[in-house]
Amino acid sequence: MENSFHSVRLLEEECKGCTNCIKHCPTEAIRVYQGKARIINELCIDCGECIRVCPNYAKQTIIDELKEIHEYPYTVALLAPSFFGQFPNATVNQVHQGVKDLGFNLVAQVGYGAEHVNFAIRQWMQENPLRPLISSACPTIVRLVQVRFDELVDHVIPLEAPVEITAGLVREQLAKEKGLSDKDVGVFFISPCPAKVSAIKIPIARGQSQITAAISMREVYGAIMSKLATIPKDVVLETDLLASALGMLWGRRGGEVYALEGTRVSVDGVYNVINILEDMAMGKLPEVDYLELQACPGGCVGGPLVTQNPFIAKARLEALCNGLPAAPKWDRDDLLYRYQKGDYFWKLPLQSKAVLSMDGDISTALSMIKQREIIEKELPGLDCGACGSPTCQCLAEDIARGMASNNDCIFHLRQAVQYVAADLWRLAKQVPPTIASQQVLNAMDEEDDNEDK
Protein backbone atom coordinates (compact mmCIF):
# COMPACT_ATOMS: atom_id res chain seq x y z
CA MET A 1 0.00 0.00 0.00
CA GLU A 2 1.15 3.51 -0.73
CA ASN A 3 2.47 4.84 2.54
CA SER A 4 2.79 8.52 1.80
CA PHE A 5 -0.75 9.49 0.90
CA HIS A 6 -1.33 13.20 0.99
CA SER A 7 -4.67 14.83 0.68
CA VAL A 8 -3.16 18.19 -0.25
CA ARG A 9 -2.77 18.19 -4.02
CA LEU A 10 -2.06 20.58 -6.84
CA LEU A 11 -4.56 21.39 -9.57
CA GLU A 12 -2.12 21.84 -12.45
CA GLU A 13 -4.52 23.78 -14.69
CA GLU A 14 -5.01 26.43 -12.03
CA CYS A 15 -1.37 26.82 -10.99
CA LYS A 16 0.32 29.86 -12.49
CA GLY A 17 3.72 29.01 -11.06
CA CYS A 18 3.83 31.96 -8.67
CA THR A 19 5.95 31.63 -5.54
CA ASN A 20 3.37 32.14 -2.80
CA CYS A 21 3.20 28.52 -1.76
CA ILE A 22 6.94 27.78 -1.84
CA LYS A 23 7.53 30.78 0.41
CA HIS A 24 4.92 29.78 2.97
CA CYS A 25 5.48 26.06 3.20
CA PRO A 26 6.77 25.41 6.73
CA THR A 27 8.72 22.31 5.70
CA GLU A 28 10.04 23.73 2.39
CA ALA A 29 8.20 20.93 0.62
CA ILE A 30 7.22 22.82 -2.55
CA ARG A 31 9.24 23.80 -5.61
CA VAL A 32 8.14 25.44 -8.82
CA TYR A 33 9.36 23.37 -11.71
CA GLN A 34 8.56 24.01 -15.38
CA GLY A 35 6.08 26.65 -14.36
CA LYS A 36 4.07 24.49 -11.95
CA ALA A 37 4.28 23.94 -8.21
CA ARG A 38 5.34 20.45 -7.15
CA ILE A 39 4.82 19.07 -3.68
CA ILE A 40 7.60 16.83 -2.39
CA ASN A 41 5.55 14.09 -0.77
CA GLU A 42 8.10 12.98 1.81
CA LEU A 43 8.27 16.51 3.22
CA CYS A 44 4.59 17.42 3.11
CA ILE A 45 2.83 17.39 6.48
CA ASP A 46 -0.64 18.22 5.11
CA CYS A 47 -0.86 21.42 7.12
CA GLY A 48 -2.77 23.17 4.36
CA GLU A 49 -0.80 26.43 4.53
CA CYS A 50 -0.47 26.31 0.73
CA ILE A 51 -4.23 25.98 0.42
CA ARG A 52 -4.61 29.12 2.48
CA VAL A 53 -2.10 31.23 0.53
CA CYS A 54 -2.69 30.12 -3.06
CA PRO A 55 -4.34 33.06 -4.84
CA ASN A 56 -5.44 30.81 -7.71
CA TYR A 57 -7.10 28.10 -5.63
CA ALA A 58 -4.75 25.59 -7.22
CA LYS A 59 -4.13 23.72 -3.97
CA GLN A 60 -6.95 21.42 -3.03
CA THR A 61 -7.82 18.67 -0.65
CA ILE A 62 -8.48 15.22 -2.02
CA ILE A 63 -11.53 14.27 -0.06
CA ASP A 64 -14.49 11.93 -0.19
CA GLU A 65 -17.95 12.94 -1.26
CA LEU A 66 -21.17 12.93 0.66
CA LYS A 67 -22.89 10.70 -1.90
CA GLU A 68 -20.71 7.80 -0.76
CA ILE A 69 -23.01 7.36 2.20
CA HIS A 70 -25.43 5.52 -0.07
CA GLU A 71 -22.99 2.65 -0.29
CA TYR A 72 -23.57 1.61 3.34
CA PRO A 73 -26.66 0.12 4.98
CA TYR A 74 -25.99 2.11 8.12
CA THR A 75 -24.22 5.44 8.21
CA VAL A 76 -22.71 7.52 10.98
CA ALA A 77 -21.42 11.08 10.90
CA LEU A 78 -18.70 12.16 13.34
CA LEU A 79 -18.77 15.85 14.22
CA ALA A 80 -15.62 17.62 15.35
CA PRO A 81 -16.07 20.18 18.13
CA SER A 82 -14.88 22.92 15.76
CA PHE A 83 -17.87 22.21 13.53
CA PHE A 84 -20.33 23.55 16.10
CA GLY A 85 -18.67 26.96 16.01
CA GLN A 86 -19.42 27.38 12.31
CA PHE A 87 -23.06 28.40 12.62
CA PRO A 88 -24.43 31.70 13.91
CA ASN A 89 -27.21 31.44 16.50
CA ALA A 90 -27.49 27.67 16.30
CA THR A 91 -27.59 25.34 19.27
CA VAL A 92 -25.45 22.23 19.54
CA ASN A 93 -28.57 20.12 19.13
CA GLN A 94 -29.68 21.98 16.01
CA VAL A 95 -26.36 21.49 14.27
CA HIS A 96 -26.23 17.86 15.35
CA GLN A 97 -29.74 17.23 14.06
CA GLY A 98 -29.03 19.20 10.88
CA VAL A 99 -26.26 16.79 9.99
CA LYS A 100 -28.42 13.78 10.79
CA ASP A 101 -31.05 15.13 8.41
CA LEU A 102 -28.52 14.97 5.58
CA GLY A 103 -29.26 11.24 5.60
CA PHE A 104 -27.23 9.69 8.38
CA ASN A 105 -28.60 7.03 10.70
CA LEU A 106 -26.56 8.28 13.62
CA VAL A 107 -24.48 11.30 14.52
CA ALA A 108 -21.77 11.17 17.21
CA GLN A 109 -19.77 14.02 18.66
CA VAL A 110 -16.00 13.69 18.55
CA GLY A 111 -15.83 15.66 21.80
CA TYR A 112 -17.19 12.50 23.40
CA GLY A 113 -14.10 10.58 22.31
CA ALA A 114 -11.92 13.54 23.31
CA GLU A 115 -13.10 13.08 26.88
CA HIS A 116 -11.90 9.48 26.80
CA VAL A 117 -8.55 10.72 25.47
CA ASN A 118 -8.44 13.26 28.25
CA PHE A 119 -8.73 10.46 30.76
CA ALA A 120 -6.04 8.47 28.96
CA ILE A 121 -3.62 11.42 28.94
CA ARG A 122 -4.03 11.86 32.69
CA GLN A 123 -3.48 8.19 33.28
CA TRP A 124 -0.41 8.14 31.04
CA MET A 125 1.08 11.16 32.81
CA GLN A 126 0.71 9.42 36.15
CA GLU A 127 2.43 6.29 34.92
CA ASN A 128 5.21 7.73 32.74
CA PRO A 129 7.84 10.24 33.86
CA LEU A 130 9.10 11.38 30.42
CA ARG A 131 8.51 15.11 29.91
CA PRO A 132 7.57 17.27 28.11
CA LEU A 133 4.89 15.24 26.39
CA ILE A 134 3.69 16.30 22.96
CA SER A 135 0.00 15.97 22.16
CA SER A 136 -0.88 13.55 19.37
CA ALA A 137 -4.28 15.00 18.53
CA CYS A 138 -3.27 17.08 15.49
CA PRO A 139 -1.95 14.80 12.74
CA THR A 140 -0.04 17.65 11.10
CA ILE A 141 2.00 18.06 14.24
CA VAL A 142 2.66 14.35 14.55
CA ARG A 143 3.93 14.30 10.97
CA LEU A 144 5.98 17.42 11.60
CA VAL A 145 7.71 15.66 14.46
CA GLN A 146 8.25 12.57 12.32
CA VAL A 147 9.87 14.41 9.43
CA ARG A 148 11.61 17.36 11.07
CA PHE A 149 12.00 16.57 14.76
CA ASP A 150 12.51 12.85 14.77
CA GLU A 151 14.74 13.21 17.83
CA LEU A 152 11.51 13.99 19.70
CA VAL A 153 9.29 11.11 18.56
CA ASP A 154 9.51 9.43 21.96
CA HIS A 155 7.87 12.46 23.51
CA VAL A 156 4.70 12.21 21.45
CA ILE A 157 2.03 10.68 23.67
CA PRO A 158 1.13 7.40 21.93
CA LEU A 159 -2.64 7.91 21.99
CA GLU A 160 -5.12 7.80 19.16
CA ALA A 161 -6.74 11.09 18.20
CA PRO A 162 -10.27 11.69 19.55
CA VAL A 163 -11.87 11.10 16.15
CA GLU A 164 -10.42 7.58 15.91
CA ILE A 165 -11.44 6.80 19.49
CA THR A 166 -14.95 8.05 18.80
CA ALA A 167 -15.22 5.88 15.69
CA GLY A 168 -14.22 2.85 17.75
CA LEU A 169 -16.77 3.61 20.46
CA VAL A 170 -19.51 4.08 17.87
CA ARG A 171 -18.75 0.79 16.15
CA GLU A 172 -18.67 -1.00 19.47
CA GLN A 173 -22.03 0.42 20.47
CA LEU A 174 -23.64 -0.43 17.14
CA ALA A 175 -22.36 -3.99 17.30
CA LYS A 176 -23.64 -4.46 20.82
CA GLU A 177 -26.98 -2.71 20.57
CA LYS A 178 -27.93 -3.27 16.96
CA GLY A 179 -25.87 -6.30 16.02
CA LEU A 180 -24.33 -4.35 13.14
CA SER A 181 -21.08 -5.68 11.75
CA ASP A 182 -18.19 -3.38 10.87
CA LYS A 183 -18.63 -3.72 7.12
CA ASP A 184 -22.25 -2.60 7.25
CA VAL A 185 -21.43 0.62 9.01
CA GLY A 186 -20.00 3.58 7.13
CA VAL A 187 -18.42 6.08 9.49
CA PHE A 188 -17.94 9.54 7.97
CA PHE A 189 -15.90 12.26 9.56
CA ILE A 190 -16.74 15.82 8.69
CA SER A 191 -13.24 17.22 8.64
CA PRO A 192 -11.82 20.69 9.27
CA CYS A 193 -8.53 19.84 7.55
CA PRO A 194 -6.66 17.78 4.97
CA ALA A 195 -4.41 16.33 7.68
CA LYS A 196 -7.26 14.42 9.29
CA VAL A 197 -8.19 13.09 5.87
CA SER A 198 -4.67 11.80 5.32
CA ALA A 199 -4.62 10.27 8.80
CA ILE A 200 -7.74 8.31 7.89
CA LYS A 201 -6.36 7.07 4.56
CA ILE A 202 -2.97 6.18 6.00
CA PRO A 203 -3.24 6.05 9.78
CA ILE A 204 -0.25 7.40 11.68
CA ALA A 205 0.44 4.36 13.82
CA ARG A 206 -2.18 1.69 13.22
CA GLY A 207 -3.00 -0.65 10.37
CA GLN A 208 -6.37 0.66 9.33
CA SER A 209 -8.64 3.44 10.44
CA GLN A 210 -12.10 2.70 11.80
CA ILE A 211 -13.34 5.71 9.88
CA THR A 212 -14.65 4.95 6.43
CA ALA A 213 -14.26 8.30 4.76
CA ALA A 214 -13.86 12.00 5.35
CA ILE A 215 -16.02 14.80 4.03
CA SER A 216 -15.03 18.45 4.02
CA MET A 217 -16.81 20.81 6.40
CA ARG A 218 -17.21 23.10 3.42
CA GLU A 219 -19.14 20.53 1.46
CA VAL A 220 -21.91 20.13 4.01
CA TYR A 221 -21.96 23.68 5.32
CA GLY A 222 -24.51 25.15 2.94
CA ALA A 223 -26.94 22.25 3.23
CA ILE A 224 -26.97 22.48 7.01
CA MET A 225 -27.27 26.25 7.08
CA SER A 226 -30.42 26.02 5.00
CA LYS A 227 -31.92 23.39 7.32
CA LEU A 228 -31.22 25.07 10.64
CA ALA A 229 -34.26 27.34 10.66
CA THR A 230 -36.60 24.34 10.46
CA ILE A 231 -35.05 22.55 13.43
CA PRO A 232 -36.22 23.43 16.96
CA LYS A 233 -33.45 24.82 19.14
CA ASP A 234 -34.07 22.20 21.82
CA VAL A 235 -34.54 19.24 19.50
CA VAL A 236 -34.00 15.98 21.38
CA LEU A 237 -31.04 13.90 20.21
CA GLU A 238 -31.36 10.13 20.17
CA THR A 239 -27.84 9.23 21.17
CA ASP A 240 -25.60 9.33 24.18
CA LEU A 241 -22.45 9.93 22.13
CA LEU A 242 -22.48 13.58 23.13
CA ALA A 243 -19.79 15.88 24.44
CA SER A 244 -19.70 17.96 27.58
CA ALA A 245 -17.89 21.29 27.62
CA LEU A 246 -14.67 19.45 28.44
CA GLY A 247 -14.67 17.56 25.15
CA MET A 248 -16.25 20.33 23.11
CA LEU A 249 -13.51 22.81 23.98
CA TRP A 250 -10.92 20.60 22.25
CA GLY A 251 -12.06 22.46 19.14
CA ARG A 252 -10.00 25.43 20.10
CA ARG A 253 -6.55 26.06 21.52
CA GLY A 254 -6.35 25.33 25.24
CA GLY A 255 -9.21 22.84 25.39
CA GLU A 256 -7.09 19.73 25.44
CA VAL A 257 -4.92 20.77 28.38
CA TYR A 258 -7.67 22.43 30.38
CA ALA A 259 -8.23 19.51 32.71
CA LEU A 260 -4.64 18.27 32.91
CA GLU A 261 -2.21 18.67 35.78
CA GLY A 262 1.23 20.24 35.70
CA THR A 263 2.74 22.93 33.50
CA ARG A 264 0.82 22.96 30.25
CA VAL A 265 1.62 25.02 27.22
CA SER A 266 -0.73 25.49 24.28
CA VAL A 267 0.68 26.60 20.96
CA ASP A 268 -1.25 27.20 17.76
CA GLY A 269 -0.10 27.96 14.23
CA VAL A 270 2.42 25.75 12.51
CA TYR A 271 5.26 28.30 12.56
CA ASN A 272 4.87 28.87 16.30
CA VAL A 273 4.85 25.14 16.80
CA ILE A 274 8.11 24.75 14.87
CA ASN A 275 9.69 27.40 17.10
CA ILE A 276 8.70 25.68 20.30
CA LEU A 277 9.81 22.29 19.03
CA GLU A 278 13.19 23.83 18.13
CA ASP A 279 13.40 25.08 21.71
CA MET A 280 12.41 21.71 23.08
CA ALA A 281 15.03 19.93 20.96
CA MET A 282 17.69 22.09 22.56
CA GLY A 283 16.46 21.21 26.03
CA LYS A 284 15.01 24.67 26.58
CA LEU A 285 11.71 23.54 28.10
CA PRO A 286 12.75 21.76 31.28
CA GLU A 287 9.72 22.87 33.29
CA VAL A 288 7.04 21.93 30.76
CA ASP A 289 4.93 18.82 31.32
CA TYR A 290 2.55 18.86 28.38
CA LEU A 291 2.57 20.59 25.02
CA GLU A 292 -0.74 21.00 23.25
CA LEU A 293 0.31 21.79 19.70
CA GLN A 294 -2.09 22.64 16.91
CA ALA A 295 -1.12 23.51 13.38
CA CYS A 296 -3.98 25.90 12.76
CA PRO A 297 -4.49 29.42 14.11
CA GLY A 298 -6.69 29.09 17.17
CA GLY A 299 -6.78 25.30 16.86
CA CYS A 300 -9.18 23.28 14.73
CA VAL A 301 -11.60 26.24 14.56
CA GLY A 302 -8.96 27.68 12.22
CA GLY A 303 -8.63 24.57 10.04
CA PRO A 304 -8.08 25.04 6.28
CA LEU A 305 -11.49 23.55 5.46
CA VAL A 306 -13.66 25.52 7.87
CA THR A 307 -15.89 28.26 6.52
CA GLN A 308 -15.93 30.82 9.31
CA ASN A 309 -13.40 33.22 10.72
CA PRO A 310 -11.55 31.24 13.40
CA PHE A 311 -11.93 33.92 16.07
CA ILE A 312 -15.68 34.07 15.55
CA ALA A 313 -15.92 30.29 15.53
CA LYS A 314 -13.95 30.15 18.77
CA ALA A 315 -16.22 32.67 20.47
CA ARG A 316 -19.31 30.77 19.34
CA LEU A 317 -17.92 27.47 20.51
CA GLU A 318 -17.17 28.91 23.93
CA ALA A 319 -20.64 30.39 24.19
CA LEU A 320 -22.19 27.04 23.28
CA CYS A 321 -20.13 25.34 25.97
CA ASN A 322 -21.74 27.51 28.62
CA GLY A 323 -24.96 25.62 27.98
CA LEU A 324 -23.37 22.18 28.29
CA PRO A 325 -22.51 20.12 31.36
CA ALA A 326 -18.98 21.10 32.42
CA ALA A 327 -17.64 17.56 32.51
CA PRO A 328 -18.79 14.10 31.43
CA LYS A 329 -20.29 11.58 33.80
CA TRP A 330 -17.33 9.24 33.65
CA ASP A 331 -17.57 5.60 34.53
CA ARG A 332 -13.97 5.46 35.75
CA ASP A 333 -13.82 1.69 35.99
CA ASP A 334 -14.92 1.35 32.39
CA LEU A 335 -12.41 3.94 31.19
CA LEU A 336 -9.60 2.38 33.16
CA TYR A 337 -10.51 -1.04 31.79
CA ARG A 338 -10.36 0.33 28.24
CA TYR A 339 -7.08 2.07 28.96
CA GLN A 340 -5.51 -1.10 30.29
CA LYS A 341 -6.90 -3.10 27.39
CA GLY A 342 -5.02 -0.73 25.07
CA ASP A 343 -8.10 0.75 23.37
CA TYR A 344 -6.75 4.28 23.49
CA PHE A 345 -3.28 3.57 22.23
CA TRP A 346 -1.64 3.58 18.84
CA LYS A 347 -1.24 0.04 17.66
CA LEU A 348 2.28 0.62 16.31
CA PRO A 349 5.21 2.67 17.55
CA LEU A 350 5.57 6.10 15.96
CA GLN A 351 8.17 5.90 13.21
CA SER A 352 10.75 8.52 12.45
CA LYS A 353 10.42 9.72 8.86
CA ALA A 354 13.50 11.90 8.88
CA VAL A 355 14.05 13.09 5.35
CA LEU A 356 16.51 15.91 5.68
CA SER A 357 19.67 13.87 5.27
CA MET A 358 21.62 14.50 2.06
CA ASP A 359 22.65 10.87 1.66
CA GLY A 360 22.31 7.54 3.42
CA ASP A 361 26.07 7.37 3.82
CA ILE A 362 27.36 9.94 6.30
CA SER A 363 30.66 10.47 4.55
CA THR A 364 28.94 11.14 1.22
CA ALA A 365 26.51 13.43 2.98
CA LEU A 366 29.42 15.42 4.41
CA SER A 367 30.86 16.07 0.95
CA MET A 368 27.43 17.12 -0.26
CA ILE A 369 27.07 19.54 2.65
CA LYS A 370 30.44 21.01 1.73
CA GLN A 371 29.32 21.37 -1.85
CA ARG A 372 26.10 22.99 -0.73
CA GLU A 373 28.08 25.63 1.11
CA ILE A 374 30.31 26.38 -1.85
CA ILE A 375 27.25 26.74 -4.06
CA GLU A 376 25.44 28.89 -1.52
CA LYS A 377 28.30 31.38 -1.42
CA GLU A 378 27.87 31.95 -5.15
CA LEU A 379 24.16 32.62 -4.91
CA PRO A 380 22.99 36.19 -4.32
CA GLY A 381 21.25 35.48 -0.97
CA LEU A 382 18.13 37.41 -1.96
CA ASP A 383 15.72 34.52 -1.51
CA CYS A 384 13.73 35.83 -4.47
CA GLY A 385 12.15 32.49 -5.28
CA ALA A 386 12.42 32.88 -9.06
CA CYS A 387 14.43 29.66 -9.23
CA GLY A 388 11.46 27.76 -7.81
CA SER A 389 13.10 27.07 -4.45
CA PRO A 390 11.97 28.96 -1.35
CA THR A 391 15.44 30.29 -0.42
CA CYS A 392 18.94 30.51 -1.89
CA GLN A 393 20.08 28.06 0.76
CA CYS A 394 17.38 25.62 -0.25
CA LEU A 395 18.38 25.94 -3.93
CA ALA A 396 22.00 25.29 -2.98
CA GLU A 397 20.81 22.16 -1.20
CA ASP A 398 18.74 21.08 -4.19
CA ILE A 399 21.72 21.62 -6.52
CA ALA A 400 23.99 19.61 -4.22
CA ARG A 401 21.37 16.86 -4.23
CA GLY A 402 21.35 16.94 -8.03
CA MET A 403 17.76 18.14 -8.16
CA ALA A 404 18.42 21.58 -9.61
CA SER A 405 21.09 23.47 -11.52
CA ASN A 406 23.07 26.67 -10.95
CA ASN A 407 21.37 28.31 -13.88
CA ASP A 408 17.98 27.99 -12.21
CA CYS A 409 19.11 31.11 -10.39
CA ILE A 410 18.27 34.04 -12.64
CA PHE A 411 21.25 35.99 -11.37
CA HIS A 412 23.52 33.13 -12.22
CA LEU A 413 21.86 32.78 -15.57
CA ARG A 414 22.28 36.46 -16.29
CA GLN A 415 25.93 36.27 -15.51
CA ALA A 416 26.29 33.27 -17.80
CA VAL A 417 24.48 35.19 -20.53
CA GLN A 418 26.84 38.09 -19.98
CA TYR A 419 29.84 35.86 -20.55
CA VAL A 420 28.30 34.47 -23.72
CA ALA A 421 27.46 37.98 -24.91
CA ALA A 422 31.02 39.14 -24.32
CA ASP A 423 32.26 36.20 -26.38
CA LEU A 424 29.85 37.02 -29.19
CA TRP A 425 30.96 40.62 -29.14
CA ARG A 426 34.57 39.59 -29.52
CA LEU A 427 33.71 37.19 -32.33
CA ALA A 428 31.63 39.79 -34.10
CA LYS A 429 34.60 42.09 -34.23
CA GLN A 430 36.73 39.38 -35.79
CA VAL A 431 34.57 39.16 -38.92
CA PRO A 432 36.68 39.86 -42.06
CA PRO A 433 36.69 43.61 -42.77
CA THR A 434 35.76 42.96 -46.39
CA ILE A 435 32.35 41.77 -45.19
CA ALA A 436 31.62 43.98 -42.18
CA SER A 437 30.75 47.54 -42.76
CA GLN A 438 33.39 49.87 -41.41
CA GLN A 439 30.62 51.94 -39.90
CA VAL A 440 29.42 49.09 -37.68
CA LEU A 441 32.94 48.29 -36.51
CA ASN A 442 33.52 51.92 -35.61
CA ALA A 443 30.30 51.96 -33.63
CA MET A 444 31.40 48.84 -31.75
CA ASP A 445 34.75 50.36 -30.88
CA GLU A 446 33.06 53.51 -29.64
CA GLU A 447 30.80 51.40 -27.47
CA ASP A 448 33.81 49.64 -25.93
CA ASP A 449 35.50 53.00 -25.28
CA ASN A 450 32.41 54.22 -23.47
CA GLU A 451 32.39 51.07 -21.33
CA ASP A 452 35.99 51.67 -20.33
CA LYS A 453 35.32 55.17 -19.09
Binding site: D150, E151, L152, V153, E278, D279, A281, M282, G283, K284, P286, S352, A354, L356, S357, M358, D359, G360, D361, I362, S363, A365, L366, S367, M368, I369, K370, R372, E397
Partner: protein, 144 residues
Protein backbone atom coordinates in the same frame (compact mmCIF):
# COMPACT_ATOMS: atom_id res chain seq x y z
CA UNK B 1 42.24 7.18 3.93
CA UNK B 2 41.71 10.81 4.67
CA UNK B 3 38.36 11.28 6.34
CA UNK B 4 35.81 13.71 5.08
CA UNK B 5 35.58 16.46 7.65
CA UNK B 6 33.45 19.54 8.05
CA UNK B 7 34.60 22.39 10.27
CA UNK B 8 32.75 25.47 11.41
CA UNK B 9 33.30 28.23 13.92
CA UNK B 10 30.47 30.41 15.14
CA UNK B 11 31.34 33.66 16.90
CA UNK B 12 29.14 34.29 19.95
CA UNK B 13 28.52 37.65 21.53
CA UNK B 14 28.14 38.20 25.24
CA UNK B 15 24.67 39.14 26.51
CA UNK B 16 23.06 38.94 23.08
CA UNK B 17 19.88 37.10 23.96
CA UNK B 18 18.20 37.68 20.61
CA UNK B 19 20.78 35.65 18.71
CA UNK B 20 21.22 33.14 21.51
CA UNK B 21 20.59 29.62 20.26
CA UNK B 22 21.39 30.45 16.62
CA UNK B 23 24.70 28.62 16.58
CA UNK B 24 23.16 25.55 18.21
CA UNK B 25 20.36 25.68 15.64
CA UNK B 26 22.84 25.81 12.75
CA UNK B 27 24.79 22.92 14.20
CA UNK B 28 21.63 20.88 14.51
CA UNK B 29 20.68 21.58 10.90
CA UNK B 30 24.10 20.43 9.67
CA UNK B 31 23.81 17.19 11.63
CA UNK B 32 20.38 16.56 10.17
CA UNK B 33 21.70 17.07 6.64
CA UNK B 34 24.47 14.66 7.49
CA UNK B 35 21.86 12.10 8.45
CA UNK B 36 23.15 11.40 11.96
CA UNK B 37 21.02 9.24 14.25
CA UNK B 38 18.30 11.08 16.18
CA UNK B 39 19.86 10.10 19.52
CA UNK B 40 23.14 11.77 18.54
CA UNK B 41 21.39 14.88 17.25
CA UNK B 42 19.43 15.20 20.46
CA UNK B 43 22.58 15.07 22.60
CA UNK B 44 24.53 17.43 20.37
CA UNK B 45 21.68 19.96 20.31
CA UNK B 46 21.54 20.07 24.10
CA UNK B 47 25.33 20.39 24.44
CA UNK B 48 25.60 23.05 21.75
CA UNK B 49 22.80 25.11 23.23
CA UNK B 50 24.11 24.98 26.80
CA UNK B 51 27.67 25.77 25.68
CA UNK B 52 26.44 28.66 23.57
CA UNK B 53 24.34 30.02 26.42
CA UNK B 54 27.23 29.86 28.86
CA UNK B 55 29.25 32.08 26.55
CA UNK B 56 26.31 34.47 26.18
CA UNK B 57 25.48 34.59 29.88
CA UNK B 58 28.75 34.16 31.73
CA UNK B 59 31.54 35.34 29.42
CA UNK B 60 32.71 38.46 27.63
CA UNK B 61 32.26 36.68 24.29
CA UNK B 62 33.85 33.83 22.37
CA UNK B 63 33.03 31.16 19.86
CA UNK B 64 31.63 27.69 19.41
CA UNK B 65 33.13 25.33 16.88
CA UNK B 66 32.03 22.11 15.28
CA UNK B 67 34.20 19.46 13.65
CA UNK B 68 32.25 16.68 12.07
CA UNK B 69 33.46 13.43 10.58
CA UNK B 70 31.49 10.30 9.77
CA UNK B 71 32.43 8.82 13.13
CA UNK B 72 32.53 11.71 15.57
CA UNK B 73 30.97 15.06 16.43
CA UNK B 74 33.48 17.33 18.12
CA UNK B 75 32.52 20.64 19.63
CA UNK B 76 34.67 23.19 21.36
CA UNK B 77 33.80 26.47 22.97
CA UNK B 78 36.27 29.13 23.91
CA UNK B 79 35.81 32.54 25.42
CA UNK B 80 37.95 35.44 26.51
CA UNK B 81 37.10 35.57 30.16
CA UNK B 82 36.41 36.03 32.98
CA UNK B 83 37.13 32.32 33.58
CA UNK B 84 35.79 29.97 36.25
CA UNK B 85 37.51 30.09 39.67
CA UNK B 86 36.34 26.68 40.90
CA UNK B 87 35.49 24.21 38.16
CA UNK B 88 34.40 21.41 40.49
CA UNK B 89 31.88 23.73 42.02
CA UNK B 90 30.68 24.94 38.62
CA UNK B 91 30.10 21.34 37.58
CA UNK B 92 27.75 20.67 40.49
CA UNK B 93 24.09 20.37 39.64
CA UNK B 94 22.22 23.49 40.59
CA UNK B 95 25.28 25.68 41.07
CA UNK B 96 24.93 28.97 39.27
CA UNK B 97 26.29 32.48 39.53
CA UNK B 98 23.70 33.88 37.11
CA UNK B 99 22.34 37.28 38.08
CA UNK B 100 18.72 37.88 39.04
CA UNK B 101 18.13 39.58 35.68
CA UNK B 102 19.37 36.53 33.82
CA UNK B 103 17.29 34.25 36.05
CA UNK B 104 14.28 36.35 35.25
CA UNK B 105 14.83 35.40 31.60
CA UNK B 106 14.58 31.76 32.57
CA UNK B 107 18.29 30.90 32.66
CA UNK B 108 20.60 30.00 35.51
CA UNK B 109 19.27 26.66 36.70
CA UNK B 110 22.84 25.47 37.12
CA UNK B 111 22.21 22.41 34.98
CA UNK B 112 24.14 23.46 31.86
CA UNK B 113 27.58 22.04 32.56
CA UNK B 114 26.21 18.87 34.23
CA UNK B 115 23.96 18.27 31.21
CA UNK B 116 26.83 18.84 28.81
CA UNK B 117 28.93 16.34 30.71
CA UNK B 118 26.12 13.80 30.89
CA UNK B 119 25.48 13.95 27.14
CA UNK B 120 29.11 13.83 25.99
CA UNK B 121 31.30 10.77 25.41
CA UNK B 122 34.34 12.91 26.09
CA UNK B 123 34.26 16.05 28.21
CA UNK B 124 37.08 18.38 29.11
CA UNK B 125 36.87 21.86 30.57
CA UNK B 126 39.77 24.16 31.32
CA UNK B 127 39.59 27.64 32.68
CA UNK B 128 41.89 30.33 33.88
CA UNK B 129 40.60 33.34 35.76
CA UNK B 130 41.28 36.49 33.81
CA UNK B 131 42.00 34.57 30.63
CA UNK B 132 39.02 32.46 29.61
CA UNK B 133 37.33 29.10 29.47
CA UNK B 134 37.81 26.28 27.00
CA UNK B 135 35.39 23.41 26.72
CA UNK B 136 35.95 20.40 24.52
CA UNK B 137 33.44 17.62 24.01
CA UNK B 138 32.84 14.89 21.54
CA UNK B 139 30.16 12.38 20.80
CA UNK B 140 30.90 9.17 19.00
CA UNK B 141 28.43 8.41 16.24
CA UNK B 142 26.95 4.96 16.47
CA UNK B 143 27.88 4.42 20.10
CA UNK B 144 24.94 6.06 21.74
Amino acid sequence: MLQNKLSYAFPIEASDFTKAGDAAGKIKKILKLAGLPATVIRRVAIIAYEAEMNIVIHSVGGSLSLDLTSTRVEMASQDNGPGIPDIDLALQEGYSTASDEVRALGFGAGMGLPNIRRNADHFCIQSEVGVGTNLEVWIDIGVS
